[in-house]
Subunit: 526 residues, 2 copies
């Protein structure tokens, strides 16, 4: 496979006719060959129409067929070899080792969803037997979850593999039985084309219906909006900016038939340092914090952008240690010139806010789009009175809030918007204080961590990568982990369904051995 | 307890100062004493503020505490005795026996949710153990679902008990751990006050925090919109018109923090008569159909408003039998003068559409708001070319679509909007035809019935009373049955949570004996 500048529309590869675009190497701020052709309205229409036509067949493939398809995608991505990693490195400036790790994560996600499909817990198979003697008689009722319909996926800039063309949204939607139409992120077009080719190849090898997958190239505001507006699309997965996510939410809500949007948008990931923990290990926490803050040039949705603690000499030691560690950090290349520009502007604005002090900054220089690490501080009243301080600065910048007392800590916790994560550093002597804080954090965040750092989102059954608005558009869901599949399914109840027409998951003898709730009692199925 | 015209705000009973309103007896079109006081902005604020304050405490009550609270509500409603039934009869025109049955259903719902809370399946408790040897090490991760926040509930006109103040939305939200603020339906204000008093009494007896429940009286467009706009409210349950539901969806989507709206709105519930079934038992199907159509004066969300069949002598027999049965039906009192007016207007408009024939009508006369049953017919092309024919006429009116062939049947199935139900009458000889129809019906409806009628929605684990837009605002959910609780919860993941801070459902020894997914494998818990 090679990079031709093509879109993938079903089993076709097509050079778009609505203009051209090249990827940019952020380390040098120069264009990378070749040019990519942009989609027009007919391309969007064809991808959506193919997805619609594929839906009924694809959603009723067996668990084994769908699991093998997901595993084959993982294999085909691995088979792309170093050409994928090299291209991703050129397009994103991310180090080779990081990209190899991310490829592993991407394959793990696909394989996790293969297991999820085979296990069949997500089907929520439920049977209530007929009670013919009752007045009135109860009919036989059987419920399963089915795929919601074709899904539009918008990849993230900061994970060119794990949250992009074959990322968590695509993997969970395909697992659910939904055809996927991806809008490739313009920041890594070549990476996207290679991965899209791998999925296309896997679809052909596994004899999937043609429209199960397409990957369009184009402008988010134009191609993206027309994709989300298309009547065939029944749900949207998005990882990106708050502004971009809200625009898609609006479009989806204004459709004749509104559809769910799962947008993962904006989070500043508060880290609470409790007094006893700070007294016991401020140096260690500071070192861990700086590593987390600077990982991947700070370009994580879970980057620790806010530190909250009560003023003390221990806090001073934390700040001093963090400042020293941070000053030694080299500037790292950011993903795109646009992200770099926004970061520089964001930190400049931060400096201009009265009452915000610069604590330390990392080394300057480096590549074209290199970001200088930044640590700032302010008081709690200052934070509470300055809405701009709650806004995410995407990159390696964090703000320490010095609180006078525990009441101010609680006031900050209540004040912040919804978050993907909240972190607590606490020793046993802090537990009573933490008990008072926990209910607030549970209302604010999708994941609450103790004595660690929020970067690093494990792909597991218990993971929640989600949270109240504006961290996501839908606090009821997660975009990472096994239950991400729940976003793309809906329940259907069958009443007095003849045995000859009953889907396997609901047949009396449970041929798929899935767990089921039978007359109100959970049964394992195997 | 007696009817005083009061709102219930926490443990207070208050006569609203923003105007007065009386309930109307639809049988006589006369007002019923006493007057009810309407809420002002301060009442809304207080109810929401109390709910906010109650939330953290209420959501962490034990399963047993919450289950007993739900059961106590059921007991308190029963203790209202005939005064509740008599008042509901006066306010709605519904027969006494129907209301007694509906009271039983309401109590069953509350008791089902007590079981759901005790069983704890809804918690989705999930544990992934730490893997310290792995590179990088996997942290300990535990996930549970918690209550989403205070919920605003809008009762339905057509079920003054089962879908109103203590109906399915309230029961499932309280079960989830969400405080509830109800906007009482103006069509049954006295019934609402009595039931609200019963919940208030149960809350006091069970030592629940004051704000766990309030019931406001006021205009839907004013009090309802300000309730849905209030920052403390985190989800909305609604049963009513398409227009009303869409207005709430818009308001919720435009909030600074958008929130989910579960609106159950509009459905015409197509009934497909397959050739062999029609040949074998057209008379029997016709009789069942007329009973379903006229039940409760046709005022069910699941009323069979559309019949689709291929033209044949068997269809002629079905129509003739239905017409005869229907002509004998007396006019029944509708719920409100407004609903009656809309029904009369709707059937008049139907008659005026070219190509629509009146097949038969029931007897005229009766009470002030009595509805004459109506059966009409048209051809498939006529239906496909007349959007107005797809609109719900709330009441005992149904339209038969005569199809030339199976292609037209499929075209109708693809053309209709989302539905709560789709019904199929089929014999074994029809199964091949049904197999081709099923995928379409699965995309269109939340419940698919065989050889029965859609009225009658069993309260059970496998029930789905939901469906694609516009039947509801959110096809991923149901408003009836055990899984209705899933609308009011969201997942929270805890990473490396100290044992001393771990909620019971996630503790190592599983003290609540709830089912859990542990390292990817489902365990029953007991």
């Amino acid at each position: 496979m090679s990079i031709q500048g093509n879109m993938i529309i079903g089993q076709q590869r097509r050079f778009g006719q609505a203009g051209q675009l090249k990827a940019i190497n952020p380390a040098t701020n120069t264009e990378i060959e070749p040019a990519f052709g942009l989609a027009n309205a007919a391309d969007v229409e064809q991808a959506c129409q193919l997805a619609r036509e594929a839906f009924d067949q694809y959603r009723e493939t067996t668990p084994e067929q769908r699991a093998v398809f997901l595993e084959t995608i993982a294999d085909e991505i691995l088979a792309l070899g170093t050409s994928l990693i090299d291209r991703a490195h050129q397009e994103t400036g991310l180090p080779i080792a990081r990209l190899e790790g991310e490829r592993g994560r991407t394959m793990n996600q696909l394989r996790l969803f293969a297991k999820v499909v085979r296990d069949g817990y997500y089907l929520n198979a439920t049977l209530d037997s007929a009670l013919l003697e009752r007045t009135p008689p109860r009919p036989d009722l059987r419920m399963r979850k089915i795929a919601i319909g074709p899904v539009a996926v918008f990849g993230a800039s900061n994970f060119p593999l794990a949250f992009s063309v074959a990322g968590g949204d695509t993997a969970s939607a395909l697992a659910a039985g939904c055809p996927v139409v991806v809008k490739a992120h313009s920041a890594h077009l070549g990476t996207s084309e290679l991965v899209a080719q791998a999925i296309q190849t896997a679809a052909a090898k596994c004899h999937m219906p043609e429209g199960v997958f397409s990957c369009l190239i184009g402008d988010g505001r134009q191609i993206g909006q027309s994709l989300v507006s298309h009547a065939a699309i029944k749900a949207v997965g998005f990882t990106g900016s708050r502004q971009g996510g809200i625009a898609l939410m609006r479009t989806a809500a204004q459709r004749h038939e509104p559809i769910p949007v799962y947008a993962e948008m904006s989070s500043i990931n508060p880290v609470f340092l409790m007094p006893s923990a700070l007294a016991a290990r401020s140096t260690q926490i500071a070192q861990g914090f700086v590593e987390s803050l600077t990982l991947g040039a700070g370009q994580f949705c879970t980057n620790p952008g806010l530190v909250i603690a009560i003023d003390s000499t221990d806090l001073e030691n934390f700040i001093e240690t963090a400042a020293n560690a941070l000053q030694a950090k080299a500037a790292a290349t950011m993903l795109t010139p646009g992200i770099h520009h926004a970061y520089v502007k964001g930190t400049e604005q931060l400096s201009s806010i009265a009452g915000v002090s610069k604590v330390a900054e990392g080394q300057a220089g480096g590549s074209a789009c290199a970001a200088q690490v930044r640590l700032s501080s302010c008081t709690a009243p200052q934070f509470l009175n300055t809405p701009a301080l709650s806004e995410e600065i995407f990159g390696p910048s964090s703000l320490i809030i010095r609180c006078a007392d525990l009441d101010e800590v609680h006031a900050i916790a209540e004040f912040i918007e919804g978050q993907l994560t909240a972190t607590v550093h606490a020793n046993e002597a802090d537990y009573e204080l933490v008990k008072a804080l926990m209910p607030i954090l549970e209302r604010k965040a999708g994941r609450i961590l103790f004595n660690g750092f929020p970067t690093g989102v494990e792909v597991a059954h218990a993971m929640v990568h989600g949270g109240p608005f504006p961290s996501t558009s839908d606090s009821r869901t997660t975009s990472v982990g096994a239950t991400a599949i729940d976003r793309f399914i809906r329940p259907v109840c069958y009443q007095e369904l003849p045995a000859a027409l009953t889907p396997a998951s609901l047949q009396q003898d449970n041929p798929w051995s899935v767990p089921r709730i039978v007359n109100g009692e959970l049964q394992l199925g195997k």
